[in-house]
């Protein structure tokens, strides 16, 4: 990739994916906001893993348990040592979210295809409507990574008491509290508007280019360090409304800039903005 990223191997190019379409050690996974896109045509051999239908528990607000995750991987022919490459729509929001969710269960070899679905199609690369079948595996969940990458509300309360940095990746109007629910996402409503006290606003879209690829390491440093004041030694929590756009920020900070301690608060504003008596800050912030 030549972009001077801390962990360049984690971001693969569309060409790399094309060169590995028949590689049995590699599984390509599409994760989209719009469920139908996969059926409309996908990278040949790619399987679909849906953030809502596959990765989230259908009753609790939580992710699936280890047993269901093992089943999900097994039926998609993913083994413990498979290289799993995610891509999707919306500049890879959901691809990063799926990457993060796979990390919760301790899967080691995960990648994101830079540019996502849009770039693949814009480059006129091959598309297939066939749903592939792979030999079943007997996946064993390694587990153990959740505390390192996931923050719960009590962790966030502790985090703000200790005055540690938070990154809010929502749109500017959601951050200031002018907009109670993001216009386009009424299903993610909250009773209060604003942001977690002390959080810096870095809208997610600033981390990606027009073509859906990630900004260079220098540009990302200018954004997160120059503008938002982070340091690589910081303990950082990122959040948005439901934790998907902040997975993209988590990915950029962890893998592209090499920050060792970044957690995603997946409860995000749909939890915080509905909690009783937690502190909220309104306006342009610090």
């Amino acid at each position: 990739m030549g972009e001077d990223y801390a962990r360049p191997e984690v971001l693969v190019s569309t060409q790399w994916v094309l060169d590995h379409l028949d590689d049995p050690k590699v599984r390509i996974v599409e994760s989209d906001e719009d469920l139908l896109l996969y059926d409309l045509g996908h990278v040949p051999g790619a399987v679909r893993i849906d953030w809502q239908g596959d990765l989230q528990d259908q009753v609790l607000r939580d992710y699936i348990d280890a047993e269901k995750f093992a089943e999900l991987c097994s039926k998609n022919g993913i083994a413990e040592d498979t290289t799993v490459v995610f891509y999707g729509d919306k500049s890879n929001w959901w691809a990063c979210y799926a990457f993060w969710a796979f990390t919760l269960f301790g899967h080691k070899d995960l990648r994101v295809m830079n540019g996502g679905r849009k770039l693949w199609i814009d480059e006129s690369r091959p598309i297939s409507r066939e749903t592939p079948k792979y030999p079943r595996t007997e996946y064993k969940v390694a587990g153990g990574d959740e505390p390192a990458i996931r923050a719960f509300r009590d962790d966030v309360l502790e985090h703000i008491r200790a005055k540690r940095p938070l990154i809010d990746v929502r749109s500017p109007k959601e951050y200031t509290g002018e907009m109670l629910h993001m216009e386009d996402y009424p299903q993610e409503g909250s009773l209060r508007g604003g942001h977690i006290p002390g959080a810096k606003s870095v809208p997610w879209s600033r981390a990606v280019n027009e073509d859906g690829t990630f900004k260079s390491a220098a540009e990302l440093r200018a954004l997160y360090e120059g503008e938002a004041g982070l340091k690589p030694s910081d303990d950082v929590v990122a959040y948005c409304r439901i934790g998907e756009r902040s997975s993209l920020a988590w990915f950029a900070l962890t893998y592209l800039l090499g920050y060792p301690r970044v957690r995603n608060y997946d409860g995000s504003w749909t939890e915080w903005g509905n909690l009783v008596r937690v502190p909220i800050e309104r306006g342009a912030g610090a």
Binding site: L35, L36, P186, Q187
Partner: protein, 146 residues
Amino acid sequence: MPAALDAILTELRESDRQERIDLLIDFSKNLPPLPPELEARRDAEHRVEECQSPVYLFVEMIGDRVALYGDAPAEAPTVRGFVSLLLEGLNGASPEEVLKVPGDLVDLCGLTEVLGMLRVRGLSGVLRRIKRDVTRVAFAHNGSTS
């Protein structure tokens, strides 16, 4: 319910999950382009706010019948397919028929099972928007002719 919409509903209900997805994709591909005079009117007034993608709807009366036009991006096939489905099911209906379409149409189509709870509310917003506009346009129409 207008007969055309009823027929679509029956077909969707009798389909399995994959067939429903394929039907919605077909609808998405068959959405007629906006008439040229409406192209330029894709503005905030005609945008469906509930949708995550830029979706535009236009309602007119031709005689005493409803004429619907709509547009949604190809990158958002779910909502594009649903707009196309509603256009096919409701065009030529009377305003009363449109207003009587059940509010839980998305559920009745079996799409909630396919798409998941978080994805279908924008779709219900499209139907609410059509009903609101039909009420407004039909009222103005009656007012001007009677």
